[in-house]
Symmetry: C2
Subunit: 370 residues, 2 copies
C-alpha cells in the first residue's frame, strides 16, 4: 500500500489510530446490528419536529453554498444568549473547532494541558499539530482544577482544555470554581472551556454567559449535537472576545458549513419548548440508567450530561468485557479509555425502548462475564 513519499515528517510519524470507532464500523466488523444506540452521547430523542419540518422545507435550497459568514446563526445565537454576532465562531462541530484552536496556538513541541482520560479527539488534534500533551489525573472522577493550573504554570503552556460538565465521567464543577480557575490562568494561556453538555447541567454549574466575555484567553465551545439532537448535522460554536474568535477566519474552511445544518440549528434554537421537554426526558433516562445499574450491583455516578458513567467496581478489562458483551445483544455503549476511569462503562440517555434492551441484556452479560 504505497503512499506519497514526501509527506511532512510530522505527518509520517502520526499513528493511524482514530479517536473513536463508530457504531457502524462495529456493526460491520461484528456482522451484528446495533439495536440500542446509546454509546456516543447522541440524543435518541431526536431533534424537534419543527426542525425536521424545516429540513424538508429547505432541502430544495441545498444547491446553494451556505453563507460563509454564518451571519444568521451567529446573530440568532447572540440574541439567544445576550451577546453579539461578533462573539461567535461557527464550525462543523466542536471537533472541528478544537482542531482550529490547536492550529492557531500550537507549534511542534509546545505543551498542551488536559486531563488524563479527557476528550480523545482533542488529544488527536494536539498530536496532529505536533503538540506535547501534558496530562493531570482526575481527582474523585472530576477534572482536577488545581492540578491543571499547576501543570499550566509549570510548563508555561499556551493551551489548556477543560470540559464542564465532563466527558467521559459526567461530573462537573460549580460555576464559581470554573470562573476562579479561568481567572487564575496566565493571560498567555488559552482556555478551551468545552460546554458541549451545558444544556443538561444542573443549576449553578455553568458560569454566566458574560463571565469571560472580556477575556481574550477563554473560548467556550458548545454544540447542537447533544441536547438539541443534531449530532449528524455538525454544528458547533465557539464563544469568545471578537478579537479572539475573528482569528478563526484566517484559517477556517469558510464554505465548510452545510446549508441544511445551519437551517436545522436555527430552527432548533427557536424551539426552546422542545429543548426543555428533551432535557426532562434526558433526566428521566439518567435516573432509569442509574436504577438499572444499581439493580445489577453496579454504581452509577452522578451526571450533569446526557449519559451516565457507571462504576463496575472492577478494572478496565472487566468494563471492556461488559461493553463487548452488550454489543453481542445489539446494545452499543462505550467506556473511558484509561485507568482509573476505565473501571466505568458509559451509557447515553436513550429512549425507553433502548433502555428496555439495556435492562434485558445487562444481567445476562454480567452473568456471562462473571
Amino acid at each position: 500500500m504505497s503512499g506519497f513519499s514526501r509527506f511532512t515528517p510530522l505527518a509520517n510519524q502520526l499513528p493511524a489510530t482514530v479517536p473513536f470507532v463508530g457504531p457502524e464500523a462495529i456493526e460491520r466488523r461484528m456482522g451484528r446490528d446495533v439495536r440500542a444506540r446509546i454509546g456516543a452521547n447522541e440524543s435518541g430523542f431526536g431533534p424537534a419536529p419543527s426542525v425536521l419540518e424545516t429540513i424538508s422545507r429547505k432541502a430544495k435550497e441545498i444547491w446553494r453554498y451556505n453563507d460563509p459568514e454564518n451571519h444568521a446563526l451567529k446573530t440568532a445565537l447572540g440574541a439567544h444568549l445576550g451577546l453579539t454576532a461578533s462573539n461567535f465562531v461557527i464550525s462543523e462541530g466542536i471537533d472541528d473547532l478544537l482542531g482550529l484552536i490547536v492550529r492557531l496556538v500550537i507549534e511542534p513541541g509546545m505543551p498542551v494541558v488536559t486531563s488524563l482520560g479527557g476528550y480523545p479527539t482533542f488529544n488527536f488534534h494536539v498530536a496532529g499539530f505536533g503538540g506535547r500533551l501534558v496530562t493531570t489525573a482526575y481527582r474523585e472522577d472530576r477534572e482536577d482544577l488545581q492540578g491543571l493550573l499547576d501543570a499550566v504554570r509549570r510548563e508555561d503552556a499556551p493551551l489548556v482544555y477543560l470540559a464542564n460538565p465532563d466527558n467521559p465521567m459526567g461530573s462537573w464543577w460549580d460555576a464559581p470554581s470554573i470562573v476562579s480557575f479561568a481567572k487564575s490562568l496566565p493571560e498567555t494561556t488559552l482556555l478551551i472551556l468545552d460546554e458541549a453538555y451545558s444544556e443538561t447541567a444542573p443549576e449553578g454549574s455553568i458560569p454566566a454567559i458574560t463571565a469571560f466575555i472580556d477575556m481574550p484567553n477563554v473560548i467556550r465551545t458548545r454544540t447542537f449535537s447533544k441536547a438539541y439532537g443534531l449530532a449528524g448535522a455538525r454544528v458547533g460554536y465557539g464563544i469568545g472576545t471578537p478579537g479572539t474568535v475573528s482569528a478563526f477566519d484566517k484559517i477556517r474552511n469558510h464554505f465548510g458549513m452545510p446549508r441544511l445544518s445551519t437551517e436545522a440549528a436555527l430552527a432548533a434554537l427557536k424551539d426552546q419548548a422542545y429543548l426543555s421537554k428533551v432535557i426532562a426526558e434526558i433526566a428521566d433516562a439518567r435516573m432509569r440508567i442509574s436504577a438499572i445499574a444499581r439493580a445489577n450491583g453496579l454504581h452509577p455516578l452522578p451526571s450533569a450530561t446526557n449519559f451516565v458513567a457507571v462504576d463496575t467496581g472492577r478494572d478496565g478489562v472487566y468494563a471492556r468485557a461488559i461493553v463487548d458483551g452488550l454489543m453481542e445483544h445489539g446494545v452499543f455503549i462505550r467506556m473511558p479509555g484509561v485507568a482509573p476511569l476505565n473501571r466505568c462503562i458509559r451509557i447515553s440517555a436513550g429512549v425507553p425502548a433502548d433502555l428496555d434492551l439495556l435492562e434485558q441484556a445487562l444481567p445476562k452479560v454480567l452473568k456471562a462475564v462473571g
Copy 2:
C-alpha cells in the same frame, strides 16, 4: 478588539482576507436581494427530486453522527467508478480536502506551484500553513502545463495544483496532455488534479479513472457541489492510491461529514439519469450565456464547466464595473481576481429565468459603464 496574545507567529501574520465573499454578504452590504444567483458556479437546476425525497425521509436520523469511515459512500463511489473503497477519502467539499493536503505536505517556507489566478481557496490554505506560492501565468487562458512543470523542477516543489477543467476560465486540456504532465512530475511532487467540473467536460478531456491509480503522487479531487447540485451539502472526495489517501485519516475530522449530506450524495450518485439531464441543461445554458454575451459585443470563451468566462475586451476595472453593475440589478456573477484573466466576467449556468434577468440587465449595465 483584543484577541489572545499568544497565537503562533504564523497565525498572527496571516491576513484577514477571505477567499470569496458570499452572495449573502453582498446582499447585506448592498441592501439588495440577489434575484439571479449565477456567480458561484452552483447549479440552479438543483439536485434530483430523488435526492430531495431522500433528505426528507432520512432527516429523522440526523440525531446520529455519521459513520466516520464513510463506508457506504466510498463503496458506492468505488462501484460507480470501477475502483475500490480504499481509493477514496471523503471530506466536507474539495475546499476541506485542499487544506488537509497542504497540511500533509507543506512545512513553512516550502514552495507550492499553481497558476497565477487559479483557485483562491487553494492559495488560502497554502498561506495558512506557511507555504510559499510559486505561480505560473496562464497561456491563452489555459493553465500552462509546461510552465507548471518547469516551476516544479526549478523549485523542487513538493506540491502542485492543476484544475482540469479550469476555474475561473472554463478551459481544459485533453486527457493525454494531463496524463503526460502527471507522469513527467518527480515522484516527490504531489499533484492535486482538481476535477470539480469533470461531469461537464467534453469527451476526451478527463483521463481514464485508472490512469493514475498506481501513482502515489496524484490525488484527483471531485465534488457533488457542481453538476450534482449539492454545493450546500459539502461533499467532496479525493481519489488516489490506498497508501496516499489513508494518510488523511491521521489528521482529518473523522466525525466531520454531515449525515444528510452523505445520504444526499448516495442518492445523487444513484440517479445518473437526472445527472445526464442536468448536464444537457448546463450545456444549453452555456450556449445561451454565450449568445447573450455576443449580442452585447462581448466574447464568450469556450467552456468545459458549468460557467462561461466572457472576455469583455477591456481590463479588470471595466469587468469589475460590469460585475457591480449587474448586482445593482440583482444579478450576482463573479470575475477572476488577477490580470490578464480579470478582463473577463464569469457567469454560472443558470435556469432560464435567471438568464432572462441577465439578458435584460446586461445591455443596461454596459451602457451605464460606457
